[in-house]
Symmetry: C2
Subunit: 647 residues, 2 copies
């Protein structure tokens, strides 16, 4: 027990790095009145409460950390992400409204705009004096953003642009802050200048006057009740000949000169589009980080309860804590392990992102490649972490039986709120296809098909030479030393990814050589590409986890985390053992041994289950789930008195 | 198109059998004002609306179909289940409140009581003049019902029983109808007569007076907000020396005579307990049926939308309906197939249940075995169907992207409401363990360990003799005729189940021979046992599906369903291909061929996807999801005008 306390004492600060000061400030706020949203609340009141909480965050200066110092910020996007990650322990509507205002609205002005835009708007965005929107998604176009239909047409007469929604289905949809609070919006629209189309660009468009009434030509509709996140005022926006001056074009990558000439430093419209989107990568990183936090909340509640709740037991004996059951351990502990893996993976990604930004600011070389890499990692980790969160919260709910169904225990709203994480900031299936394509083209420079085909040919040709060889002895080795060896896990994850990459390339090339249209060739390989992207993401997660083990603050912590990393690796391998069997990478005898080892690791880690979830450092008052704190489980059988929280 | 209409015209009545009249009556009611619950509604109002809807159902005589004719019923439990199954297309709170009143409260009086109880209460239960509860679950004991702690103590003086809740944690919890409406309750309590404990028995206990105030000694608390089903008034109940007369003991299986003598026709208290629970099997069957209905609602909405929603496409071409994408097909169509499988499996189970009840009424032989079989099937199908519903609804939500997140499209509430289906009427993991044990003991007569060990020995000994042999040629056959052969699927599913059964028995026996305590031996095999139970349930589902194909109303319908059954079988096999590979039942080349065939079947079935979901016959007005009916998806690319519903 003393050991557990020591472990915990070293674990919490380790997992709270970097920016522990900032995290603590947010945790302190989360336990204040403004941040505790009642379980039952109507939509209008929920929105009002959420708005108030975001005002507190703005007043604390926590919304503008990514902004330049000149506008009250710290020029530190990675600190902004740490705030977002910590906010995700609390009400998710507050989190998302915060993200809309400072990350999406502020972030788009910061990243897509230039000095004049920053100067004009950033300060007021940071203080929430100027609430705004990020108006990208349309009713008819969600995933396929490049085909959105709102138009921004250059008008010589007025030296500005005219915004139009060509038809009802091209209305902006799901726009956070639109239904109530937003006064301006970054609007993504098809830009045309003197009859020439230049693709999607972003413009700042006022949508409401000081009194909150929609401006002429702007029609706004409330998006109405949602599955979750009902504290966020999403809405739809249509434009009818709405004029904005020339300087409202966010012109970091392309501008229109006074005389009405379109100029861009990036020639290809495809590349320009993806460069623009790429600057907004912080959003995806933030959702990945928030997903990990949501999984932590769910699993902390589920594990704490399962550690205490007793049910059934040997004849005439004491009833057993449900977490002592093998199947219960299998449901929860590998998910705890995966949460650690994504924790370290996201942390590493944030570090890399900050590094790339610093290099860019210093005018460094290779920042383009660096950004591409960050984009690909953000995409795959956002997809895997958001699905993981949904799955972990659901498993926690079921592990708690009926108690998980009490709204007071938070899992319902948490699940409903975070459900859309798999959809917004890029639908997960679409992201995985993008990641696979990016792997295939090895950080390609262009989206053009020609380049892509070259890359494909290259990957297909090198197949069989670079992939590490299967070791005929290793496919049958079942001794524990081998099964638990992190180098074995690393090699297995790499092997899987490389094999999937080469086989995908070969299949695609085969289809195309047979005259199948590229679009259809990709369609036929979608499953394969998705599998590849997942294998890639899991490899990143494992490697980050193993680094996290090495850097652990003490030998005990390191040993415990090493076992947890083993559990992550072996459980993933056993989940995907069909692939390893088909590839001949493991023989059936080994596959069975891996499964057995997962059970052994679960049993071995069960005594530190509480330490593992408490290591995430979510204070009781933030956790705010009665059944994760107290204990109502009493029996007539002679059971030891259950532990109670100190009063 | 004409063919599709013909198919649909034959499919809808086929899937609506038996009792189409009754189903139609319920469907008609579901479109009336009383049954359409607004998307946004507070808890009190939701409860009021739900109560009103249940009153309508009672007035229509739909609650008492399982009751004897003498009390207004039809003596037809299978017709009661058809009503429940159809109600599940609408608001789930109405469904559950209906189930509490007539199935649980009425069902317990009917099944556990005798003539005098029926005479006294059934008529008023059926008309809802006497709302009541089914008070089994306690705060401290959910799954482990046998250890519940409420006591019913015989009192000579008053010729009756005294009900007591020994401590706070023994309060009844989650009791439907308790928070507001219930006037009486079937209370499960540990019966003791003159110092002798007789285990759990059920008694009818008045809990509220005519004015709705709790009676003396009865304390009731509202269970508060839940993740879903907020239209149902669940509550907690504690008893403090509450007296009921002797004849309030529901005494079908055990009675206490006037002089205070305990008598039962069933000697073993374990067997008595399970016999009592067994009579309540209709509840589990009903939840399995309702789960299938919920999956139908979710998938109909998801598939209809995906059939129309266009996104991305070949360069400069028309955008493609998302259901044309291979990965989208893989997400939805196998789930449609599984829904058909569980549809037929549940239908068959209901038929068998009705048959057994008829046989019992006629005093027929073998009804004990029949009931045991029905219980085991109900348990496994309840578990698999409820998990399937959660998974299918979630997949539909994600397949619809942001549109699935609109509360108006119903998937959120449907998911939250049905989420608890995996927990109530027996937590799924617990049910699967029970099913596996029942398979191991071959419809054992007793729960006693001795008998069980005998069965274990028997199964372990016959291992290797009865399991059909692997065919060394078949493990590599990859030709389409073979892969699509239903006899192959049937053999594979049976092989898997038998192998899992024998290996589980061998493992258990091994542990026990090594001196491991039975409780711990079972704990170590939990995963194995769960896998066995799932294999059993999937085998039942496949066989029922194949029968459903044979009995299809036309050659075209039969062909289509045959392909769908192939998809179900092969998709399950590919999901579990690791097992088949490990067992040597398929070689890697065959495993890959199965996966490919799943894709081929998805493509082949995509054109009839709408027909398949519309075959479930959910009227638009009941479906009540705007995006499954209309169409808001417009693009500037030259796409054909999307179909619109006839006005």
């Amino acid at each position: 027990m003393a050991d557990d306390m020591q472990l915990l004492t070293s674990l919490v600060p380790y997992l709270g790095e970097p920016h522990p000061d900032l995290r603590q400030r947010v945790l302190d706020l989360l336990t204040t009145e403004s941040f505790l949203i009642p379980v039952e609340i109507d939509r209008a009141e929920h929105r009002r409460r959420v708005r108030m909480a975001v005002e507190v965050l703005a007043a604390e200066g926590l919304g503008r950390l990514a902004f330049p110092r000149a506008y009250g910020g710290e020029d530190a996007p990675e600190r902004a992400i740490a705030v977002f990650e910590t906010l995700a322990f609390g009400d998710t509507s507050i989190l998302v409204k915060f993200g809309v205002q400072f990350g999406l609205w502020g972030g788009s002005v910061l990243q897509l705009g230039t000095e004049k835009h920053h100067h004009r708007w950033l300060r007021e965005i940071g203080t929430l004096e100027l609430p705004g929107c990020y108006a990208m998604t349309e009713i008819g176009h969600g995933s396929n953003v490049r085909e959105l239909e709102t138009t921004a047409t250059w008008d010589d007469e007025t030296d500005g642009f005219v915004l139009d929604t060509p038809h009802e289905g091209a209305g902006k949809e799901w726009i956070g802050n639109a239904a109530l609070d937003g006064r301006m919006a970054t609007v993504f629209a098809q830009l045309s200048v003197r009859g020439e189309a230049h693709g999607v660009h972003a413009l700042v468009v006022p949508i409401r006057d000081e009194d909150g009434a929609p401006l002429p030509g702007v029609r706004i509709e409330d998006n109405g009740p949602k599955v979750g996140l009902n504290g966020v005022d999403n809405g739809r926006i249509w434009f009818d000949r709405v004029r904005v001056p020339r300087e409202h074009l966010l012109d970091r990558f392309a501008t229109v000169t006074e005389g009405g000439r379109y100029e861009s430093t990036i020639e290809s419209s495809g590349r320009r589009f993806f460069t623009m989107l790429g600057t907004l990568v912080a959003g995806r990183i933030s959702i990945a980080a928030a997903s990990v936090s949501a999984a932590k909340v769910g699993l902390t509640i589920g594990v704490r309860y399962s550690d205490r709740r007793r049910q059934f037991g040997p004849e005439d004996g004491v009833e057993v804590p449900v977490l002592d059951y093998a199947s219960h351990q299998r449901r929860l502990l590998p998910r705890v392990a995966a949460t650690y893996a994504y924790h370290f993976a996201v942390r590493k990604l944030v570090g890399r992102y900050a590094e790339v930004l610093r290099a860019r600011r210093a005018g460094g070389e290779g920042t383009e490649e660096g950004l591409r890499e960050v984009e690909a990692r953000a995409a795959v980790l956002k997809a895997l972490a958001s699905w993981h969160a949904a799955d972990a919260i659901q498993e926690a709910r079921e592990a708690m039986g009926g108690r998980g169904y009490h709204a007071a225990n938070r899992l319902g709203r948490l699940r409903a709120d975070t459900d859309v994480f798999s959809t917004f900031e890029g639908a997960n299936p679409v992201l995985l296809q993008l990641v696979a394509k990016s792997l295939l083209t090895q950080f390609r420079e262009e989206m053009g098909d020609l380049h892509f085909m070259d890359a494909l040919r290259y990957v297909a040709e090198r197949a069989g030479t670079t992939v590490r060889e299967r070791n005929p002895v290793a496919t049958r080795r079942t001794d524990r030393d081998h099964l638990r060896d992190p180098e074995y896990h690393r090699a297995a994850f790499r092997y899987r990814e490389e094999r999937l990459l080469e086989s995908a390339a070969r299949r695609l090339k085969g289809f195309i050589d047979d005259g199948v249209e590229p679009f259809e060739a990709f369609n036929r390989c979608q499953d394969h590409l998705e599998t590849l992207a997942v294998a890639h993401g899991e490899r990143l997660a494992l490697e980050a986890f193993l680094e996290g083990v090495v850097e652990a603050p003490s030998g005990d912590a390191s040993d415990m985390l090493a076992d947890l990393a083993r559990l992550f690796a072996l459980e993933r391998m056993q989940e995907d053992r069909a692939w390893f069997l088909e590839a001949g990478y493991v023989e059936p005898v080994k596959s069975r041994a891996i499964r057995a080892e997962v059970g052994v690791l679960c049993r071995a880690l069960r005594p530190v289950a509480l330490t593992l979830v408490d290591g995430w450092g979510i204070p009781d008052a933030v956790l705010d789930a009665p059944d994760a704190l107290g204990c109502v489980v009493m029996t007539t059988r002679p059971a030891p008195a259950p532990p109670r929280p100190a009063s």
